[in-house]
Symmetry: C2
Subunit: 343 residues, 2 copies
């Protein structure tokens, strides 16, 4: 199995997903897709960190409500965020009292948590959840500058998305609530963990370039194991941004494959980037979590998208390692999601 | 399965384990047990963060060597540490090129990584690894004060251990290398993820008190599901320190059970605490990782310990949440390890 895709022997379904997002995200192209939004990005809390925790709580609560599951029925939740010591997750999900696995995969955490939740569902658990978040204001002051500083950004810089996404998984198709609008149930058919990849990028304002080689490595391994890029309605990366997405397409083209027709990036879907401060697009692990949990999976459920390859990408540096002249390692985790047509 | 132990249907074995540790740890009661030590805590590196990464690399390399496994044969590695963005793991294990899952469970990470590695081995992977580290110098300047400041500590404060531990797991007993000295092979019989528990402790210098209720919750759930404290040669927590260990014993006693006879804490095993700066004992996720990977598992292999309950405990706050008047949530993950007697 080493370095190869893990095909789930037992079927694992995404019973429901939900998202919470901030003001900029609500005003973006996918604004109508999010379940909960806050016009001041505070979600009723008095610190940005508590606001981020609250987004996680709201997203998981909404996903459980859609699935019709009580919180007591979950075997485990896998969760992560960008904050030091992952406190958005630690505090945000405490009230549920669910067995908890904390993850750190930078912006790849949505995919990492989906992989681990689906593996645990396939290994005897019945229902698991995966929750991820980021918040522009908590991330900005931790990773970059105080908000009041108003620093300018380079064109390749990405904008940390204020959002959370939650997914509730089950090992039983009969356990998935459907209605007439649901044409297909999203099933996780295969997963593939990423390998840490470092090509020497050291520019904190160009993380897309640092992550693209990791995405190319994971996708190439997946395609080499038998999948063809053309099989997928969408290949969804999150979040390479404009620069990283271009680099990924070029890297894949250099292997003789073409993803230009069906590749989209969550960081480019969530904002209308032209002429705004969003520059190269969104980033932050809430970005791909919220885009997948809302727009993409809705389209799978509606039968519009039949097969989606989700590749979550993360940049694994810290401000300290970059100050110490370190380069930026990247990682990319993959989930192959199929819509299983309902009767 | 919810909130209950997960009994591994397929047997998962710890084929080998190894540890790297610093000067204070070498001079402690378990000093002779560690595979690699560094008298200046630098492991040949020019920053403390790189030294911590190097400990992870050395520990995994040594564990692979003992097991006789090539790094290419590992299906995945689960790793974590205490540094912001988990950079000790991200950079330290990059050279192996193994599919990588980054975790954050504070000082519970050794147990969290063992749980997830054993679940993946039970779900189709053949060989997985779990690696965890902490370093006094990188942790001190990140969480507390610059080393040069020389701040005094309260009696309940713990000392971050400079150490890393690595475990290599396999799903095949025939895949475990043994010699005449090996009387038993450590097998992970059951695991149980922790639930985030917050009893309102807000003193950063008394994290044992914040973690003890989580350990009590996990142990009580495990005992209630059918295990008796007396079945285990050792119940090993990591790392509650002196204060937390006392609180845990009292909390368990209040449920009508007694663990005083067979409970030890990794933070109290690794240092001779009386009259030294170690105060309430060791902490940091390298502590339980190194103690389990060296002394405890050696005694399982030697047939001295037949059954060990390992409960890794973590405090899930950040310096920021404590400054914001937040309390300190704790978590405790459990692994039930049995020595399977060799022929």
């Amino acid at each position: 199995m080493s370095r190869l895709p893990i095909r789930l022997e037992k079927s694992v379904y995404i019973a429901a997903s939900a998202s919470a997002a901030g003001k900029n995200e609500k005003e973006g192209p996918l604004g109508d897709c999010f379940d909960l939004t806050s016009d001041d990005d505070r979600f009723g809390q008095d610190t940005w960190e508590k606001a981020e925790s609250e987004m996680q709580r709201l997203a998981l609560d909404a996903a459980l409500g859609k699935a019709g599951y009580g919180q007591d029925s979950l075997d485990a939740v896998f969760a992560g965020d960008l904050l030091n010591q992952c406190v958005a997750s630690n505090y945000g999900l405490m009230s549920f009292g669910i067995p908890f696995f904390g993850l750190y995969g930078a912006c790849s955490t949505a995919a990492e948590s989906l992989i681990l939740a689906s593996l645990l569902c396939g290994a005897g658990a019945k229902r698991c959840a995966a929750v991820t978040s980021s918040h522009f204001c908590s991330a900005e002051r931790q990773f970059r500058f105080p908000l009041e500083y108003g620093g300018q950004r380079t064109p390749t810089a990405q904008w940390t998305v204020t959002a959370a996404g939650a997914f509730v998984l089950t090992d039983d198709r009969e356990d998935v609530r459907t209605d007439a609008s649901v044409k297909a149930i999203p099933r996780i058919a295969a997963v593939m963990p990423g390998i840490v990849t470092d090509r020497g990028i050291d520019d904190l304002s160009n993380m897309g370039a640092a992550m693209a080689p990791a995405a190319a490595d994971t996708l190439t391994r997946y395609f080499s194991a038998g999948a063809d890029p053309g099989e997928f309605d969408l290949i969804v990366t999150g979040d390479l941004g404009r620069e990283g997405a271009e680099i990924l397409r070029d890297l894949i083209a250099s292997t003789g494959r073409d993803i230009r027709r069906n590749h989209v990036d969550c960081g480019l879907l969530i904002y209308d980037c032209d002429g705004t401060d969003r520059h190269a697009g969104g980033s932050g692990c809430g970005c791909s979590a919220a885009v997948m949990a809302s727009n993409i999976l809705s389209n799978v459920r509606a039968g519009v998208l039949k097969r989606v390859l989700f590749v979550g990408t993360g940049a694994l540096m810290s401000p300290l390692t970059v100050n110490q002249k370190g380069t930026i390692p990247g990682i990319a985790h993959l989930c192959d999601i199929t819509g299983e047509v309902t009767k």
